[in-house]
Amino acid sequence: MKIKAKRTKNGFLIPLINGLEDKEEILVEIKEKLAKTEFLEFLYEIYGGKENIFKSKDEEMLEHALREKYGL
């Protein structure tokens, strides 16, 4: 669910909406825009916002991939 919050002097005002009337408190997750381009945003979403999670070397990866491909 996405809610538009209005800026006030001391913060943001979240409107009371259907389905939340009986809630005492709600948890709001703030997601900052991670990337400027559509493609980078897409990648960050896939990798859970993390960079540099791949540690192997390209040459090793290619060798392994080719081994798999040619059944070696």
């Binding site: 960050y44 390209d58 990866m61």
Partner: protein, 534 residues
């Protein structure tokens, strides 16, 4: 209106750069996010060599699999293609095969060969590869500097390589097909192009030929054969045309045996003035036809010209060399006269990789005669009826034109937007007359031609040249002043307006892929000139 920005760099990405991006490897390549943003935001094409594709896919797929990232690599590759301008270029077959047997990195060699073939730079962080690439290589840390340095480039009248790269895949497919089939003379591509253009123009017949000039000669020769039953017109037979055009228009009349009559032009369009045609016809005899030229891509007044032709029983041969796709009252040029003559010279709105031309007509008999004339003058080339030519359109040219034909409307629209942008920027300079688009006209701006008043044209041209901007004078002489026409033409009146045009016209760079910053550089330089030369 928004034109493309000045980011027409030719940069090929090495696989290490692509993998840095796909895997978000910012430690190994701290520049990659910024670089992606520059290419993405500015729509700079990312060129790849076809040789890169398989390894890239294997490596990337393996990384995802080994790290248990549960997304299909194809989804990411598709997103990459959808959000960037990715252009795959061929890996040439002519690699030095001995390198295959040496300890060279064959993958890098193939990329280098593609880059050399298309005059591309290679973006890579592989230091060994950078050493091999020399000046052709760019390290990511130096990209910004490279881009800035290359912003200050000169602006040519047109950049054909840029245009070719835009539709390269289509061209390559068609050329390969011709090579495979090897029907180099009058192959199926010629017929396909003729049919497509006939449909596009809205005529019954189109006949491919060797050039725009030959299209004119063939038309006139066919008319002489049809109307007079003789091979050529007689010298006392006159054909009215404009003196302000490329030599070919007048030259074709001479080659068909007739005498050109030059009458003055309309300075709003630079095309023949129908009033002057009528004036001349009221005073003279032996006129057989009119050749209006749709100069710079702007139509001549075809209502008036066709009306006069009907009244005086004249043929009309349209010179559409500069106006492919241009219209008069929403009807394509080349469909008004007995014939329309097109040129596919490389710089034209539809241009080949050499000379080429076409005749359009609704007259079946004329079409049939032209088909004979292009093949030595007969249906059977070993037993000919007419004095013919070897003037066929090559299959290879036709195949290239077919590939480029797909883009002609888009490119004409781009030219119109560029002209609009020029007009907006230059409208306040009092000493310049901007090109006009008259009522009923659809201008395709083969040239964007201004008139520079008060004798400042040549000085402005020089000033632009000093600032790295090309410009051209189309045309510095009237046909009547050329030696070839000196005792072979007739001139009606003083041709004052045409004379004025030769002294004042200046064509500025225009091509479909010209960018906003380039045009601004041109217009700002012109503004600077007039500030300094009040």
């Amino acid at each position: 209106m928004r034109l493309e920005r000045n980011m027409d760099y030719r940069i090929l990405w090495d696989n290490n750069m692509l993998l840095d991006l796909f895997l978000l490897r910012t430690e190994e390549n701290p520049y990659i996010l910024e670089i992606e943003e520059i290419f993405s935001e500015n729509k700079i094409p990312i060129y790849l060599s076809s040789s890169q594709l398989h390894n890239l896919k294997y490596i990337f797929g393996k990384y995802l699999k080994d790290n248990k990232i549960s997304i299909d690599p194809n989804v990411i590759l598709k997103k990459f293609i959808d959000t960037h301008i990715v252009k795959v270029l061929k890996t040439p077959s002519y690699i030095d095969i001995s390198k295959w047997c040496n300890n060279v990195d064959i993958e890098d060699e193939l990329i280098k060969l593609t880059a050399e073939t298309f005059d591309l730079y290679v973006l890579t962080r592989d230091n060994n590869f950078l050493e091999i690439l020399k000046d052709r290589g760019i390290h990511p840390k130096n990209l910004n500097e490279f881009l800035k340095k290359n912003m200050d480039k000169t602006i040519p009248m047109l950049d054909l390589t840029k245009e070719t790269l835009y539709s390269y895949n289509d061209i390559e497919i068609n050329i390969d097909k011709v090579i495979k089939e090897s029907t180099f003379i009058l192959g199926p591509e010629v017929k396909e192009l003729e049919d497509k253009i006939a449909q596009y123009i809205g005529v019954k017949h189109c006949i491919g030929c060797s050039s725009g000039t030959e299209a004119l000669v063939l038309s006139l020769r066919a008319l002489a054969i049809k109307i007079k039953g003789q091979e050529y017109f007689d010298k006392n037979e006159k054909i009215i045309t404009t003196p302000f055009t490329f030599t070919a228009t007048g030259d074709a009349i001479l080659r068909a045996g007739a005498t050109p009559v030059f009458v003055d032009i309309d300075l709003n369009t630079y095309n023949i003035d129908p009033k002057k045609i009528r004036e001349y016809l009221n005073r003279s005899k032996n006129v057989v036809g009119i050749i209006p030229v749709h100069l710079y891509g702007h139509p001549a007044n075809m209502d008036e010209i066709m009306k006069i032709a009907r009244e005086y029983n004249l043929f009309v041969v349209e010179d559409v060399a500069q106006a492919f796709g241009s219209m008069w009252k929403d009807k394509k040029l080349g469909s008004f006269g007995t014939t329309g003559c097109f040129s596919f010279f490389p710089s034209k709105n539809l241009g080949g990789f050499g000379d080429g031309g076409m005749v359009s007509t609704n007259d079946g008999e004329i079409a049939e005669i032209i088909r004979m004339l292009i093949k030595h003058g007969g249906k059977d080339k070993y037993n000919v009826e007419h004095i013919g030519y070897n003037a066929r359109l090559d299959t290879l040219q036709a195949s290239i034109l077919l590939a480029k034909f797909k883009y002609v409307d888009e490119f004409n629209e781009r030219r119109r937007r560029i002209a609009e942008f020029y007009n907006k920027e230059l409208k306040n300079i009092k000493e310049i007359v901007l090109p006009k688009e008259e009522v009923n006209s659809y201008h395709v701006y083969h040239q964007y031609t201004i008139r520079v008043k008060n004798g400042k044209r040549d000085k402005l041209k020089k000033f632009l040249q000093e600032k790295g901007i090309s410009s051209m004078v189309y045309y510095p002489f009237l046909l009547k002043d050329m030696k070839v026409f000196s005792d072979r033409c007739e001139v009606y009146g003083n041709l004052k307006r045409a004379e004025e045009a030769t002294k004042e016209v200046l064509s500025l760079p225009i091509e479909p892929l010209l960018k906003e910053e380039d045009i601004l550089k041109v217009t700002n330089t012109i503004k600077e000139f007039f500030k300094k030369n009040k």
